[in-house]
Symmetry: C2
């Protein structure tokens, strides 16, 4: 029965039953964690053969002739640049392959914009700079802009991407809006893939700021779950058509493909942007870890190899997302107050519980031994204005654990909602 249609007595009965169940769950001393989007042990094992590829009898020469054991080269070995170029459908002079973290490539680019400006523009540190933040979104993006005191403006997410009407008007009218955070495919946490129309509208933006940039974090570019990979239009291509060639930085990493935190990160942008970033990297370091690049490339080989490897990940992750969906349906469909995403890829399910209940639900889950991402984390300043969004990260636990955890989540979400309706909380 829909909670919204329950009488006071029915609600009280429901609350009483849920409280009993909640106390039972607490007494089970569960210890389950769905807080971060991390690969499972099974997924990590898919890349174990990579560890046998470079050994003491290997040759260590990259496709472009570099000895990967020694200094030299700042933008990645030839074969790694080629893979990223094939992936992003750009040329290798639009690519930088870096270290183990695409997040740090974003951080460093924003840092550079703060301290130096971009392509000769005024350093952002000298202005009261703002960023657009489609949300719910990725908490670590928002942490970077918050760290630099950049004002974050929330933008609503729809099923085909963020609110483009709002974005078009905002960037056209305010020269202090310098950037926007996007996870355009299998978005974190909503799973949304931006439509072609959305991508074209991004490319056609007419920002008041000449140094406005789209941070296009393609973290889940090839991370489909059900084989029906959703094609994302190439933003850099579209930007070339509209004359906004320098407006976009696109990022990718293999952290959720090989080893998390020990993979390859890279970016694609215009030749002019790439040159400016290489000029900075040349000062910052002697170069990236070419041994890890070589190890990866001899394992992955090429884009086909990468995609075949992703099918193996999908096979391991699919049952987990199915378990989440089934359990959410059985726990929450009937009560009617919650809605959640059914993603075709990525690492998350985004659950909206009853307005004003997310913080309480996360707290109750923790009391019952289920750790979720902090409520509000998916919004700028950790502020979910409706206090309703919860990010579920189902990849790390096993299927049975996951069912148990989602059951706890369901009970807590229902108890919080019923108590809210009954005016108890």
């Amino acid at each position: 029965m829909l909670y919204s249609e329950m009488s006071k007595v029915q609600l009280e009965e429901e609350i009483s039953a849920l409280r009993e169940e909640f106390e039972n769950l607490k007494s089970m001393n569960l210890k389950l964690n769905m807080s971060r989007g991390i690969p499972s042990k099974d997924q990590l094992e898919l890349s174990h053969p990579m560890l046998d590829i470079l050994n003491s009898s290997s040759d260590f020469i990259s496709a472009d002739g570099a000895d990967c054991r020694n200094y030299g080269g700042i933008d990645g070995i030839g074969e790694a640049k080629q893979l990223f170029a094939d992936l992003f459908e750009v040329s290798t002079d639009e690519i930088i392959v870096g270290g183990n973290s695409s997040l740090s490539m974003m951080f460093d680019t924003i840092t550079s914009a703060m301290a130096h400006g971009l392509l000769g523009s005024t350093p952002w540190a000298r202005q009261n700079v703002k960023f657009l933040c489609p949300c719910p979104g990725y908490d670590r993006h928002f942490a970077i802009t918050e760290y630099y005191g950049i004002e974050m403006i929330p933008v609503q997410m729809f099923d085909d991407g963020p609110d483009m009407d709002f974005i078009e008007k905002a960037v056209a009218s305010d020269p202090l809006i310098k950037g926007i955070w996007c996870v355009p495919k299998y978005s974190n946490p909503t799973g949304v893939t931006y439509s072609d129309e959305t991508v074209r509208r991004f490319a056609a933006l007419r920002p008041a700021a000449e140094d406005f940039r789209i941070f296009w974090d393609n973290a889940y570019f090839v991370h489909h779950l059900f084989g029906d990979d959703r094609k994302l239009l190439n933003l850099l291509d579209e930007c070339k058509k509209t004359g906004n060639t320098n407006m976009v930085y696109m990022y990718f990493s293999t952290s959720k493909i090989t080893f998390a935190g020990a993979g390859l990160a890279g970016m694609a942008s215009s030749v002019e942007n790439v040159k400016a970033i290489k000029d900075r990297i040349r000062i910052q370091m002697v170069g990236p870890d070419k041994m890890n690049q070589l190890r990866h490339m001899r394992f992955i080989k090429d884009l086909d190899g990468l995609l075949a490897h992703m099918d193996k990940h999908a096979a391991l992750m699919r049952p987990k997302f199915e378990a989440v969906e089934e359990t959410l349906v059985s726990e929450l469909s009937e009560a009617g107050f919650a809605k959640w995403t059914k993603p075709a890829g990525g690492y998350f399910v985004s659950l909206d519980v009853m307005d004003g209940c997310a913080k309480r639900v996360v707290k109750m889950c923790a009391e019952a031994g289920v750790v979720l991402t902090e409520a509000g984390a998916t919004f700028p300043y950790h502020n979910d204005p409706n206090d309703r969004n919860i990010r579920i990260a189902p990849t790390s636990p096993g299927v049975e654990e996951l069912k148990a955890a989602i059951h706890v989540l369901g009970v807590c979400a229902k108890l919080a909602a019923a108590e809210k309706l009954a005016g108890i909380q």
Copy 2:
């Protein structure tokens, strides 16, 4: 015969003979490179067994229980922190082990000081900040401060470290002097190890700027050549005694121990500084590459293992430094105008040719197929005021190549000097 005592006729004869020899050398089409301090292939092979240590049947759990294949941890795995703590003789909470580049740890710390300030001080970007630069010094240090527009003040180097009288007065009187670059052991390029007295005077500095910092780049901490390792006093310890606990950042990397550009980098500083840097790293990335840390630690094991490994490097490098010394003596002793260092460790020999000749010598060497570090590179703004210092990097070529290259260098140095004395150039 000393060039300074030659008659005009003698000089002309010398020049004529040297010119003939120079033309001969050019016709040999040599291709030798002594420009960068990079390990030789023999040295790199010392670490090949490390590549067999992590394989598909390894366990991947660090001493402190982290699965190194997955996310988590921002300051290094337990055993790596312990190695760096033993090396720096500090506690593990004064250590951060990062990625593959100590240079980027320095760059990031200065970037953070520019954008945020240090421990609550005013961001350097809002002031006309200055750095002290003992020189000849490390070109990549100077490149960082130049990149940020930080005014670089040259400081003379003596045999026991930089000119401390100058440094004491400068930092005490000018609150805009915010830092100093030091390579305190087997210094780049002079090979000098700072004396205990010098280290104690550093610790006892009374800077006008509360956010003055010593960037103590211990790149050659364990890189002795002749077994008689020169002990360097522990600056952090000394700073604790003088109440300057937060005044120093100390850096180290294994780039010249395992694989260049694919090693481990780390730093030591006060608990308070380390905490502030970890707060930044937490925003910048998910964490360092723990797989490479684990691979290194299972190979190196501990400080004794590290030191034993360095003895193998020394055995390979020693004959090269001896060849440089012998060839420089036979080429240049008699002429009397040049002086050079005879380092006990590190990667360089520092040669002073006749004043006003370094640029010309480097250019002539290049014409004869011998690539040297650009003249002036070891000084701020690439400006050697006496135009006399040349950095020789003898580690990469073989002994015979090296003798040939130093012979070319000797001929060019003599020709430039003789022509200078004769008033021809």
